[in-house]
Symmetry: D2
Subunit: 283 residues, 4 copies
């Protein structure tokens, strides 16, 4: 039994669903999940579909036929993913450990179906955690004025390990446009506020100052504009006047962990599509 996941987007027109589902029916596939969305404003059709085949499938030929009979006529941008294509995820950290502990715990529990070939940090503080979980840790310091050098090292490592996407688990450095271009919609960051509120540095301090009654966290794909990339997931928790900035930071840790983990999971399971700086999240 083999399983495929198909992601599609194309100009909206009628007949797409019928054509796609008929294609897989003809090839004796059983559709076990289908979800679609139409961006009415921009007239774009999006679809996610999971299909099971009882018998082995010649994937190359299937893809070729799909492109010819469906993809091209409908001007589709499409991808078929198979279960075998496990992603390689790199984790970037600095000194905060809670997100790293959380990701690695989930990874070891089997909750995240991914490879983690490398943890990269600009500090040595969290090396012992990587070691405790038996994951290679690379200390690449980022020295003022020599950021390029650090990034070159990072890139070599990412290429060598065939990294598919990067998770910034409270990594306290700005990612360069060059790096972002190398991983378009494939760098996931966790920001410690309900964006667009409190973008930028020290969100808990500003939340305290403004006297909000809820704080939040946001996982998003990194784009060149700081904290303005496509939002994958958000969540919040209630606070009161009695909480100090220190309390907010502590309460926010659980939010950050969970919102980042959910973002990572959606990405791994190919449940996100990005269009017009927004995510379509199929659930």
């Amino acid at each position: 039994m083999s399983k495929f996941t198909l992601l599609i987007h194309c100009p909206d027109t009628s007949g797409i669903i019928a054509s796609v589902t008929s294609f897989f029916y003809k090839h004796k596939g059983n559709i076990i999940y289908i979800d679609q969305y139409v961006d009415v404003e921009n007239k774009i059709f999006f679809m996610r579909l999971e299909c099971e085949f009882a018998k082995p499938v010649k994937i190359k030929e299937l893809k070729k036929e799909f492109e010819e009979t469906i993809g091209k006529p409908y001007q589709m941008s499409w991808h078929i993913y198979t279960a075998s294509s496990k992603l390689n995820m790199a984790i970037f950290v600095s000194k905060y450990d809670h997100c790293l502990y959380d990701i690695l715990g989930r990874y070891r529990s089997g909750e995240l179906d991914v490879n983690i070939p490398v943890i990269i940090s600009n500090h040595k503080d969290l090396e012992h955690i990587a070691r405790g979980f038996d994951i290679p840790f690379y200390h690449i310091p980022v020295i003022k004025g020599q950021k390029d050098k650090a990034e070159k090292q990072q890139k070599e490592l990412l290429e060598k390990e065939n990294i598919d996407f990067i998770v910034l688990a409270r990594y306290m450095q700005i990612i360069s446009p060059k790096m972002i271009k190398a991983f378009p919609n494939r760098i996931i960051n966790i920001h410690h506020s309900f964006l667009p509120a409190f973008a930028g540095a020290k969100p808990y301090h500003f939340a305290y100052k403004r006297g909000v009654k809820i704080i939040g966290a946001t996982s998003h794909y990194v784009t060149e504009e700081l904290d303005a990339g496509p939002i994958i997931e958000q969540d919040i928790t209630r606070i009161s006047h009695s909480h100090s900035v220190k309390d907010l930071i502590l309460k926010g840790r659980d939010l950050e962990k969970i919102v980042l983990a959910r973002g990572i999971k959606l990405h791994i399971e190919r449940k996100t599509l990005v269009f017009n700086n927004k995510t379509i999240v199929f659930t």
Copy 2:
């Protein structure tokens, strides 16, 4: 432009989605929403589909062809609803007014696309509210030992007004099996606990006694077993040791209003299907 909503359930097999979507494509319909679910355990396929037609459609003939080419071969239980078929909703109340105020407010705001030909109550207390909203109010007292008589009156009224479904907005009487059979999965009740916790009478008292830290409300379709029918919607709110039973009752009012309103709305929009004492809720 006419719009149809199609609800289906049938034994699961492959090809259903392709067949159904191809059928509507052939008739020049544009599918604007599709959601499906397979109950793997019981091998049942469920689907909800919304379809728009640019040109007028001969609905009778379309239905006939659908039954012959799709419905029968797949052994489907199916319904096609059109925008014109607005439902007639009866509201049953006793003395609590908060749910009634909420439903009527939403109705007048245009939030609930439904007719309300009748409010029925075993008490006169809320008559002034019905009057304030210009809705006919019928006082049908339920006298001990003469429940049958009251129910006969209710039924005549429901039939006369062509009532499609009933909302029990904190109606404090048990509904008889006969009435339930007359409105299968078409009587919506609001219970003031997160079922199955605290089924039966005085849930807030028992919640207080047990010392729970959250209270809830549940809207469900009424079945013969008390508070055991298919759940449509639930929600909760946090409480603490400092809340008295009276506080819980007060806090619970907002929950009851909202959870009941969501249940009503899902029903009106044909987004619920019942199978095996559970609801499939398409959102």
Copy 3:
């Protein structure tokens, strides 16, 4: 049995709690609620206290003694409220009806212990609702260039009815600095976003455009800077990519109603104190 509510703020020093509680103990009062908070940064002490007296109390003399022995020495700003001092609340509306229905429903249910002598609107659309609830409705149009005139009429009405505080239930006009000064921290507005995100006009449109996964509402005291006043209460609800702006507006209605109602209730029950553009909310 008479009940007092005491609200205090003063420079923080030791002994305040002991002095205040001893004062009421000496006068045979039974403290049934006490909550305090110290703003460590600004060294300000805040307290809310509820006290019951089994025997009648000479309130004037008690207040005088409190000021002399406690208030003055500790440089307190303090207020004692009695159950008899029910507040007069004015409601300002425009065309949206959901908040008005909600407030009036709660008022009639006995949930809001307040007088509502007047509903003021710049449009006639909601007059029928006021009539349905038997509350005086005043149509005061706001004509471009003649805003002063409208405000003069409003003020006369507010004075005539001894209004204590104003609720803007989706009132679509900017309140002038003069009016704000006349009701400092006594005008409650509902803004349809989780402030400080999406301050200003059309928050749902901007939320849709940014692709957030949660929307919110904020009740706050009106200050001269738009949507920047002390926040009383906030809440949120989850949304997805599939929700249109229209969906957000509809989903947001429930948020707006509840967050505004909570804000009003906290104000009525003297549970809010404002300091440094933030609220202390005693719960």
Copy 4:
């Protein structure tokens, strides 16, 4: 600077707060937190108070004087805790690893101010995790018919390590009445449902069968009646018809982790009091 935490409960009468706060004021203590609660039904007064002293305090003498002048006259049950008295926590686990990873991650992050001298398990599966975090792990198998023997070993270990309280982090064995008596209100369990719903085994299976729209988790103190002890904390998450039992188990993991961690934290910070099988939680 030394800090005390005082927990009190006693028959309710007037003057308690004045007496207690005056006592600490007299000894030059600065009260930085006070919260009280009166169980009106049972006429019991509860209080939690935090007090700072700028100068060193003779704790023994202070306690003696407190007992003589306050404790005895008011028939109080009271405890004064100092910052130096860090608690010793034992963790019991079986095969599920997610709660253990979470607790140890929080512990290493400095979030839980506690000692963890010992992890005890009836299986060897999680030994590697204990090792990765450098915490002693004891494998004490529980053989059918020889449960007494295992418990004797456990008890010796708990005594040797001066264990103050036990956390059952998804430990899959029933705790004996003898053990419960040895640690009254000092064994914290996590149950994977919103109690009292779905007490006992396989709550996710029953939740699935009932078709609930929310699932929950509950941390509580273990008493002899299964899953009926005083609730410390609860939380929930939304599910839909489309989630299988397996999905519920996976979604529930995050709930279990967080609800257990919050329960542990409240216990460590002496923020819980148990009375009449309910917890007072001071926050």
